[in-house]
């Protein structure tokens, strides 16, 4: 994996470093362009650039950003100085930027530790060049059809690119990813506790229903959501593994988790109150424990944390809440998880769907097939008074809501973003949830501001 550095590499490194410096002087982060340029100038730049002594990768369909950030935060608070792509791209260019930024003028690295969030689709462009000591795979679900096709494809590219000596930290309840690279050393994490809040039935998508070895229908002991759960094949030895890091008890009131670990039962703070937060927490605990961090260090770091701001923001005016949450467009599982979270929130609610594809809006017509794999049925709830479908695809969303059984007087289309605040029936609800895509954040913030102004006027 460690390749001899060439003059071409040195040239690419210097150009990229100069570019990074120039971008910094211009006040820009420059988390993609320098790495992209370096790879263009020297195609195996990632192979030649120096890497820290220990490199951790975090990949998977959902949760990789949060887990990477959690792990990075804990490591920093524990006295390490890990490098990572927290503020940058999780592609080969983003990772090249991180590595070139931390290495010397001849390309060597003196860093001890890296935590790299890796786009699973980019594995063939990263893993052959960057040796990972640890790789976390949070889960694998169908994601963007355009980029990721289906989980069989993503599994196969991971399978063929993971190094045999990489230790795997795997989701024991995800039968799609936890059988990858069976020869590799591994530990499994998951939730063993069986409580109603961490279980939702009736999902549209199940990415594994038949045994990949023999084709028999899998027998599920339970399904937590989608295909996440425990199952075995009645015909062969395929099935869910035992968990090494198992959440045994969830205390939502006090935000505490009891986790069985190889060192015994331990208590950790739950950062958030969603099932995905529980998975993210136990994933981070598994990785950090495998790295050798003590429970005390992990706990101390968790105690000082908040959920990443762009994913959950809350404002309160009088007795009403306005919550902005990330519901990634083109990602049916992520949206379904958010819908499930929203329906379980207390009080009467209005939901604003503002996660159309911002870039497709400028150039083309968005493929809306993903809406039909998303559990809009979760929004058909007596406490959800209004589902406002906003933006260029408002009619498609409205139609999807109607197909999900949401009554026509609750499912409304608002094709013009700027009219959304006026269409909301704020007097009927306790909470307004604005569900945004990564790239409709600004539009959502503008809407949030208008709603807050209306509420403040009402309060005054």
């Amino acid at each position: 994996m460690k390749e001899k550095r060439t003059l071409r590499f040195i040239f690419a490194l210097w150009v990229a470093k100069a570019m990074k410096l120039a971008l910094k002087l211009l006040g820009r982060n420059g988390t993609y362009l320098p790495g992209n340029t370096a790879i263009r100038l020297c195609p195996n730049f990632l192979g030649q650039v120096g890497k820290p002594k220990t490199v951790i990768g975090v990949t998977g369909t959902n949760g990789k950003t949060t887990v990477s950030n959690l792990v990075g935060d804990v490591l920093e608070k524990s006295g390490y100085t890990p490098i990572g792509n927290r503020f940058g791209s999780n592609t080969n260019a983003g990772i090249a930027t991180v590595l070139l930024d931390s290495c010397g003028l001849l390309g060597g690295s003196k860093k001890e530790l890296a935590v790299l969030e890796i786009d699973e689709r980019m594995a063939p462009k990263i893993l052959p060049y960057v040796h990972l000591d640890y790789l976390v795979i949070t889960n694998l679900f169908r994601d963007s059809y355009k980029r990721n096709a289906h989980v069989d494809f993503i599994s196969s590219i991971l399978q063929s690119n993971i190094a045999p000596d990489t230790k795997l930290i795997l989701n024991g309840e995800d039968l799609v990813s936890n059988h990858l690279c069976p020869q590799n050393s591994r530990v499994y994490f998951g939730i063993a506790a069986g409580d109603a809040k961490s279980t939702s039935q009736g999902n549209i998508i199940h990415d594994i229903l038949v045994c990949p070895q023999c084709g028999a229908k899998l027998q599920f002991e339970y399904i937590r959501y989608n295909h996440i759960g425990r199952a075995h094949c009645p015909n062969c030895d395929f099935g869910s593994p035992d968990l090494d890091y198992a959440v045994q008890d969830i205390d939502y009131q006090r935000h505490l988790l009891q986790i069985d670990t190889p060192s015994g039962r331990q208590t950790y703070r739950l950062v958030g109150d969603n099932i995905t937060d529980i998975y993210n927490t136990v994933t981070a605990v598994a990785l950090l424990s495998e790295l050798g961090l003590s429970q005390q260090k992990i706990t101390a770091a968790f105690d000082a944390m908040q959920i990443v701001k762009t994913r959950f923001e809350e404002d309160i005016v009088g007795d009403k809440r306005v919550v902005m949450m990330l519901a990634k467009g083109q990602n049916p599982i992520a949206c379904s998880r958010v819908f499930d979270f929203v329906r379980h929130q207390p009080g009467k609610k209005a939901v604003v769907l503002l996660n159309y594809d911002y870039f497709d809006k400028q150039e083309t017509s968005e493929n809306i097939a993903w809406l039909f794999d998303t559990d809009f049925e979760f929004l058909d709830h007596p406490d959800i008074n209004q589902v406002l479908c906003v933006g260029v695809r408002a009619l498609d969303y409205q139609l999807r809501c109607l197909m999900a059984g949401i009554p026509a007087d609750r499912a409304q289309a608002c094709p013009q973003d700027e009219r959304a605040a006026d269409m909301l029936r704020l007097d009927e609800v306790d909470t307004v949830f604005i569900l945004n895509d990564l790239y409709t954040y600004d539009v959502s913030v503008a809407l949030q501001k208008k709603i807050l102004e209306k509420l403040q006027k009402g309060v005054a």
Partner: protein
């Protein structure tokens, strides 16, 4: 009226299952049979108005082709006699071709119902695009997302000519395949939700008198909006 959905646990990618959900809402009295992979299809022994099969993984294609092989003659009899409509979306069409060829030249055998047709897989290059075509006199719009390109002379057996977008492959202007009452199109996702005129046509072919669609106003408005977008020369198709 019986409608059969083949192997829904495997043939459900890219939102394709929405087609039958929508049809179910258009035909609340119809009987929908969801045939799992380990069962014999209903069309083998029973009278079925429509058989639907949706997109699947490349690995599943061979399994499905092997599963259907014993019923190849029965399928031909049903579609040539126009007794049962078969609707295949996305790469489900390929199962009915001669073969699917991998990058290394190896082949997965298909059912050979469309003789001379084959698909070439290229897992390194995914094709995504929009399609606007004309079926009979109806505008049909939709999306393609696939690893394969198909080949074969479909001049007299295409699903539809395309106005914009690609046909069987990047050089082709003829989309999909048709034989008797078999309709095969590479369009994925909610084809029937997106195309109310085609859905009405299909319902008519199934013997439904005065076909009524579910949520007709919203479906029609969404269709007209999308059609206008697809006809806009500024809209990028790839």
């Amino acid at each position: 009226m019986k409608i059969e959905v083949l192997f829904p646990e495997m043939c459900n990618l890219f939102g394709d299952s929405s087609n039958m959900k929508y049809l179910q809402q258009c035909l609340p009295q119809a009987e929908f049979v969801y045939t799992p992979f380990d069962s014999e299809p209903a069309f083998v022994t029973e009278e079925v108005a429509l058989v639907y099969i949706g997109a699947m993984t490349e690995r599943a294609q061979q399994k499905i082709a092997d599963k259907l092989q014993p019923y190849q003659a029965r399928i031909c009899q049903l579609i040539d006699g126009q007794k049962t409509i078969f609707l295949a979306t996305g790469n489900a069409c390929e199962v009915f071709f001669d073969y699917m060829e991998n990058e290394d030249g190896t082949r997965d055998q298909g059912l050979g119902i469309f003789a001379g047709f084959y698909a070439k897989r290229d897992l390194f290059h995914r094709y995504n695009g929009l399609v606007w075509g004309t079926f009979e006199d109806m505008d049909i719009i939709g999306f393609k997302t696939q690893f394969t390109m198909a080949y074969g002379d479909n001049e007299n057996c295409a699903f539809m000519p395309v106005n914009r977008g690609i046909g069987l492959n990047k050089q082709s202007r003829l989309e999909g395949v048709r034989r008797g009452s078999f309709y095969g199109t590479y369009l994925v996702g909610p084809l029937l939700v997106l195309n109310p005129p085609f859905t009405r046509y299909l319902l008519g072919k199934m013997g439904v008198e005065q076909p009524q669609l579910a949520y007709p106003e919203v479906v029609e408005q969404a269709y007209q909006q999308r059609l206008a977008e697809f006809k806009d020369p500024k809209v990028q198709y790839e």
